[in-house]
Subunit: 114 residues, 2 copies
């Protein structure tokens, strides 16, 4: 699958060809997770409306929920002002985090809310 | 300023010693911006409660709003499950984006909301 050249030209990738992707839950506004994409992962996400990322450790694409069933339906995708991060507004099925929590930010508070 | 070793030990940095930071507005839930931090930037953020990041292009620290006045008061900081991204819950003064928009994701829609 190839990415629309008009979009590809606006992306700023790191040395590994990647940019960050933030998934936010549509209903709650919760930031669910941060992962990585390359052009192909973004093209697949835009085409299929399923959150599709690139795993740096496994060096392969992964569709969120493909094994867990915790899929992401992608409602909206936005690129930030400097082109190195995308925001996905999603409907998350079940837990977004592989640890079983709702978001990947639930477990480790570095600075508690005032 | 040095980062609490108990926190530093949980971070997973990239080859440049950096990890991503997502700033989310407390009142609205809006994802405002994504930037980079290293240990020092995180230590300063935790200590001062002002959003402090590391600029890859300028190779220096920057305090959000230091020149624009559009400061971020940091209410809460959370680390994600794999230790390579932090979520800052902030009160944003004025526009979060240097282009003048409320968030850095306002201008460029790659996939419109359904």
């Amino acid at each position: 699958m190839s990415l629309d050249p008009a979009i590809a030209s606006r992306l700023k990738r790191n040395d590994a060809g990647l940019f960050s992707a933030v998934a936010q839950e549509r209903a709650t506004g919760d930031v669910l997770m941060v992962a990585w994409m390359d052009d192909e992962a973004l093209a697949r996400t835009l085409e299929t409306r399923r959150g599709t990322y690139y795993s740096r450790s496994r060096q392969q694409y992964w569709v969120k929920g493909e094994t867990s069933g915790h899929t992401q339906y992608v409602h909206e995708v936005r690129l930030d002002c400097d082109g190195d991060s995308v925001l996905l507004v999603v409907d998350q099925e079940g837990a977004a985090c592989h640890t079983g929590t709702h978001t990947c930010f639930d477990a480790d508070v570095l600075l508690p809310a005032e």
